[in-house]
């Protein structure tokens, strides 16, 4: 099964709106086993991937931390990050790294879990990962939001599929489950953002 909600359909939708030129340089941050990277390369993009827990023979897959990217400043046309930012430990750091490696007006396309928070709740973590919290983080990291799409159904589907197949989702979804355990609802969102100039 695909390792992120929506599977290939999600990657396609993320790419469709961004509309990159052939040969565009794309980084898949938190690429897992590199399925999406290979797909992107097959589509004619110059894609590379990085993941904390991967050791790959393939030259375009790097082992590394998305909060400390081993890439030069202004070197990518796009960064793709599916369902990784929320669990990478240092979301802000990672976003700033994305901004650093992106060329001016380069695009960040991200998909992740957000907390459908209670407005009255003033818990820092909840605010930070609410829909508004995510947008604030994007702004602070130097991005302007182009578009967002709610895709909670994908998450549900992904979750049920994993349940049926007996896949252990603790590592990937422990974050989500932790908030749901506290009584918050969670949703899934796609964001397209652009690196602000300068």
């Amino acid at each position: 099964m695909s390792l992120h909600p929506g599977g290939k359909k999600a990657t396609e939708e993320l790419l469709a709106f961004a509309d990159f030129d052939a040969g565009a340089k794309i980084l898949d941050a938190g690429c897992g086993v590199g399925e999406t990277v290979r797909y992107l390369r097959a589509q004619g993009y110059d894609a590379v991937g990085i993941d904390k827990a991967i050791s790959s023979e393939e030259a375009f897959i790097y082992q590394g931390d998305i909060t400390a990217l081993p890439f030069a400043d202004n070197s990518f046309d796009a960064v793709l990050c599916e369902c990784v930012l929320s669990i990478c430990g240092e979301t802000m750091l990672a976003l700033k790294e994305f901004a650093r490696v992106l060329k001016p007006l380069g695009k960040l396309i991200a998909a992740d879990v957000y907390i459908i928070g209670n407005e009255k709740q003033k818990v820092l973590q909840i605010e930070r990962y609410s829909g508004q919290g995510w947008e604030k983080m994007l702004r602070e990291a130097g991005f302007s939001l182009l578009k967002k799409e709610e895709r909670t159904a994908w998450m549900r589907e992904h979750y049920l599929q994993a349940l049926w197949q007996g896949t252990d989702l603790k590592e990937k979804w422990g974050w989500d489950e932790n908030y749901r355990a506290q009584g918050y609802q969670t949703g899934y969102m796609l964001w397209w953002a652009q690196k602000t100039e300068g």
Binding site: E177, N178, R180, A181, Q182, G183, Y184
Partner: protein, 702 residues
Amino acid sequence: MQVFQPSATFGRIVSSVCEAPCEAGCKLSELNSGINIRRLERASVMYGQYNQKKRFFISKKNKKTAVIGEDLFCLSAAYELAKKGYDVDVFSEYGALGESLDETLKGRVSREDILADMDIFKDMPVVFHFNRAPSKQSVEEILTTHEAVVLEQKIFASLFADGEIDAQTLQTSVDKIFTRKETSLPIIGAIADGKKAATTVDRTLQGVSVLEGRKNEGSYETTLYTSLDGVAPDKPVVPKGKEYTKEEAVEETQRCIHCECLECVKGCAYLKHYKSYPKKYVREIYNNLSIAAGHHTANTMINSCALCGQCKNICPFGLDMSMVCHLARQTMVETAKMPPSAHEFALLDMEHANGEEYFLAKHQSGTDKSSYLFFPGCQFGAIAPQTLQAIYADLSGRLKGGVGLMLGCCGIMANWAGQEAMFDRALQRLKEQWEELGKPTIVTACTMCNSVFEEFTEMKTVTIWQVLKEIGLPPGVTATSLEKAAIFDACGARDDEESRKIVRDMARQLGYEVHDLKYNHETSPCCGYGGLAAFANRQVAREMTDFAAGLDEAPYLTYCINCRDRVGREKSANHVLELIYGKDDIDSPSLSQRRYNRAKVKKQLLEEVWKESVMEKQNEIQITLHEGVEALLDERMILEEDIIKVIEQAEKTKCAILDRKTNHLIASRRVGNVTFWVEYEKENEQYRIYRAYSHRMMVEEA
């Protein structure tokens, strides 16, 4: 060493000369002699690796404190104050660090060990000022520049002859001065007091309560209960040389019995099953209940407890896992978090027992008044219908004033399931029937029914044991056996000492030489039926039964029909009432047979006792179970009536799948919340059943 080094400040000194008050506190000292802790500490210093790179994270407090004197108390206080982030000046009349100790410990601790122990001050904010003989004037000077001063006890005594010392906090009647009171245990006591003084200084300077939360500071008596049953007294290892060799030390450590209680776990297969102990279970259950959404990992554990109360009665402190699990179930039901499959079968069984096939409430035949009302319970009729009829015949013949009969369930099944509303409804219905019959005294045959009525209703009850004690055994029943037997006590009789006693007397009267099991009376284990454990977790219930049956070689005598049924599948077991009134031909009926038994006993009683004619429920479908299928059905909790429903529908609609290989038909039908599948073959006018299985998910064409 990893354990010893961080916990003992001056490890080399302590391990050489500690008075070791702990050795007398060791549980083994009750048998012979405690573990030789001091020598083991010494061995760990000698043979272990001293980690020199000890680093503390110290948050600086920017306050100056002073220590005057250089004995173990003072050094310990200095070290602890520095650890808490204070700057410490130590004023000593000696010329170098360790000199004072060298003098007092001469010949007992080597100079090298003393100096090595002084290394802990290396990276600490402690400054030593030597050759500073203490005087009243110097102390007063120091008090002007430091916020607190810890004084060696003998210096305090000489400078402040009238000064008073609070033994608990080590504060003195002199402001900002702290010292030690005790002079006993000059080694370990002094080090402990140094730590205590530092804590008091810290709290004083931080402006927080000096006393709060210090009840268990230092050593205190443990509340841990550890049984020495089965521990043979042994002798401590005596070192051949001055101290232990490595091998001798290892040998001595092996004497340790690893103090722990676990008394309740030893007696309960359920508590054993989850490989931990109640404190952890309670935490897990608490966590389980506080989760709003997400995986409730402890559900099955909560539903596997027999709720029998054995643990509470074993525990020296009365910890009651039954109550915890029971409350957890009630909470789960209230918050709609109870897994639907957990108790459904049992609750449907209760519905059956209180439904038209079994429920009955009548005055004794030919009367319109009852002094008594016999209530055998839901499982007695299911497991031992013939015995039930014999008991009723006897009671209605010998008790005066009319003996009515009420067949049904007391509601405990719903109570166990955490279904309070359902439980209340069941009790309410029984109460109404009881009132209609003129509020007769209920005679219970099941200790569980009895305890339910006593705890939750105002209905007056007597147990069948009290009745039989009063009126004697039926005529003709005499002592026939000279067997030995062990009494297996029922969980329903936890608070019913009288029944437990009468049952034993009666067994003797019947000729048995009875003895108690290791776990007996109020601490007997569950047979595996209690708390609906067998419905929620067959495996754990099985383990409970095996544990119960394995406690003794002798045949068991029980006085609960469920105990007899479950234990009796593993070993020879009889219900005392079966010894008196006779046993049924099939004494371990299947789940389906139990239902037939209930219907049959009601029908027979109505026909034979009340002379009413009863229409027999005729199934048009007659089934035969292929070899092995009966056990399979019980395992899967599928009733023959479910199978009949499947076949009825399949034969009517012709909706079935044919397996050409075997010529068997496979059909399914949704009954309640379950889809049942049956593989069968029509054989003359009968249907032969080869297989049945079920699932709760709905399936449909997409």
